[in-house]
């Protein structure tokens, strides 16, 4: 019995949020307290099953869960015709990132969203987004990936437009929805191409079947573009600042995590599907170009922003660039001896940066949301002197900000160090650009910190945000500090299994 539970934990990671998405509107009929309790219980249960899955992966290795089959761990080809979830180190890393952020954003939502009507729909959409992202990172089936992609798009757009009295929110949601649906349709075209040519949809069967012909080239380049778009890579990043700035503050990190989830999916697809049939160097270079563009344009646009959430949104676009560059370097060196000397380090750095980025970006967005919550102002020209009345928020912001800027000894530095060094060995120019971008990031964090928190008290707020919001940010802070203090442990226990989960061993 318990063995079955462990074996089926990937299904529960998807199923628990789905179940609670259906349950919260029903609980709302009974009482509001029950509904709120259900929300917390659902999040904690999801975290529990993610923990079970991750523990099993780290202690006794990865496995594949097949839906609706008699044998849950497949031995024959016929099992691969069904839909399957891959429970390996990579999905463990991805789902840990998702669930930490979801816990933070979820606890934060209670006080932040107070006073809004239709909260049961908010919780439903929250759970559906979580389920969609989990399905996206766990699945090993192309069409199933498309389905969860659409669930994520729809539910997160509903969340973005939740404050429908703000015209900007609705507008941002429409833009995000429009471009996601278009991307999803192109993704469906490439699924059709691959299915039409090879007659299978499973990642593993497809990886064996690919020949690297014209069909594969077109299908896979469309997939790269679509998922890079969802990961808010330049030049397809324009939806990201709109959505991050105009969504309700408590779910902004959650929307950001869906784009990080797309980056996870992109990594998995590239490493499982492109690897055996294609010239890996060209695809790696493509990712490096996208990464450099994202870093540079993201940071340049951030220089001109005066809205605090919009500025952080552009910073997050530039952070996506770091990860794309690291993955690109790792992939470009995959077939050569360079992989064992620095390519593996780049991949470790990229994956470590992803989990770091998910957490500290959530902290940063939530503290920015606290500023907006306490003062009602997001404009840096009007803010000032908040540190006098909001000491905790100031501290949280500083921690997240220094981490995103890569200041030692925080977690952002540990992962960026891996990226800098491996990228330097690949090409020194890349590392120099990355360093410059990092310095400007630091300057911009200084800008927000100086103009919003320092200075004489302007009397904009009466006091600190409610305690539950502080607790939510505190959880994320604890995670950031843990990652900061023990980076070697995190790399050895979480990141290295993820690299192995991608099927590459140095």
């Amino acid at each position: 019995m318990s063995m079955d539970l462990v074996s089926a934990s990937p299904a529960f990671v998807l199923g628990i949020p789905l179940l609670f998405a259906f349950l919260t509107p029903l609980a709302n009929r009974v009482s509001k307290d029950l509904r709120d309790a259900m929300f917390v219980i659902g999040l904690l249960l999801t975290a529990l099953f993610v923990g079970i899955m991750a523990y099993e992966v780290y202690t006794s290795g990865s496995w594949i869960y097949v839906f609706g089959s008699e044998e849950s761990r497949p031995t024959q080809t016929a099992s691969y015709f069904r839909i399957m979830f891959a429970a390996d180190g990579f999905s463990a890393l991805a789902s840990i990132t998702m669930v930490i952020t979801a816990l933070g954003a979820g606890l934060y939502s209670f006080a932040y969203m107070e006073g809004n009507t239709g909260m049961e729909k908010f919780y439903t959409l929250f759970f559906l987004t979580l389920a969609g992202v989990m399905g996206m990172v766990l699945t090993a089936d192309l069409f199933n990936l498309f389905v969860w992609f659409e669930v994520t798009s729809i539910a997160s757009c509903g969340l973005v437009a939740f404050q429908n009295y703000k015209v900007k929110s609705v507008e941002a949601a429409l833009k995000y929805m429009f471009i996601s649906v278009l991307g999803g349709l192109f993704f469906l075209v490439s699924i059709g191409l691959l299915y039409g040519e090879y007659g299978v949809l499973n990642f593993f069967l497809l990886a064996d079947a690919l020949t690297g012909g014209m069909i594969d080239k077109v299908a896979l380049s469309i997939i790269i573009v679509v998922f890079a778009m969802k990961a808010s890579s330049v030049p397809m990043h324009m939806w990201a600042p709109d959505v991050y700035a105009e969504s309700p503050g408590s779910v902004t990190p959650f929307i950001a995590i869906t784009s990080l989830g797309s980056l996870f999916v992109l990594t998995r697809i590239i490493f499982t599907l492109f690897r055996y049939s294609f010239g890996v160097a060209a695809v790696g270079h493509l990712l490096i170009i996208l990464g450099l563009l994202s870093m540079f344009v993201g940071i340049s646009m951030a220089l001109k922003q005066s809205d605090v959430k919009r500025l952080i949104a552009y910073l997050s676009v530039s952070q996506i660039g770091y990860m794309l560059m690291a993955i690109g370097v790792a992939f470009a060196t995959l077939d050569s001896a360079d992989y064992s000397s620095f390519g593996a380090m780049a991949l470790e750095g990229g994956l470590f940066h992803m989990i770091n980025d998910g957490v500290y970006k959530a902290l940063l967005f939530l503290s920015a949301a606290s500023v907006v919550y306490a003062t009602g102002i997001g404009d840096l020209n009007k803010l000032g002197g908040l540190a006098h009345k909001m000491p905790y928020t100031t501290m949280f912001f500083l921690l997240g900000g220094l981490s995103i800027a890569g200041v030692p000894p925080l977690s952002g530095f540990s992962s960026k160090l891996l990226i800098y060094q491996s990228v330097y060995l690949y090409h020194p120019i890349l590392a120099i650009i990355a360093l410059v971008v990092s310095i400007i990031t630091f300057a911009l964090i200084g800008k927000i910190f100086y103009s919003a928190f320092l200075g004489p008290d302007q009397g904009l707020t009466r006091g600190e945000v409610p305690r539950s919001m502080l607790v939510a940010m505190g959880i994320l802070t604890v995670v950031v500090i843990l990652f900061s203090l023990f980076p070697n442990y995190v790399v050895a226990e979480i990141v290295v299994p993820a690299v192995e989960g991608l099927g590459v061993v140095a």
Partner: protein, 99 residues
């Protein structure tokens, strides 16, 4: 200028789609002659013995790829929740300042 570039981009995508359409399933294959049908043949052969269903598409929708159908229902549910959320009565929440 912008219109010209956009038109060119559409043309390029169209060209690639046409090339793939012609190249799909080998040189002597093409429309109506799938090459790799192992998965579909498996479904055709076994859906009756596995599921006691005569309509094979039903067998695929509700058994072999049942998770997709669950996802499809979830999409509908999400869209309904989203529409109800967006079109609900607007009631601005005033916040910030000296509460």
């Amino acid at each position: 200028m912008r219109k010209l570039v956009a038109f060119l981009a559409i043309m390029i995508i169209f060209a690639f789609l046409v090339i793939t359409a012609v190249e799909l399933r080998g040189d002597d294959g093409g429309f109506g002659e799938p090459v790799n049908t192992e998965m579909d043949e498996y479904f055709l052969e076994n859906s009756q013995s596995h599921n006691q269903v005569n309509n094979i598409v039903t067998a695929i929708l509700f058994d072999y790829r049942g998770l997709d159908t669950l996802g499809e229902a979830t999409v509908l549910f999400a869209a309904v929740s989203g529409v109800l959320t967006v079109l609900r009565k607007m009631k601005p929440v005033k916040r910030g300042g000296k509460r």
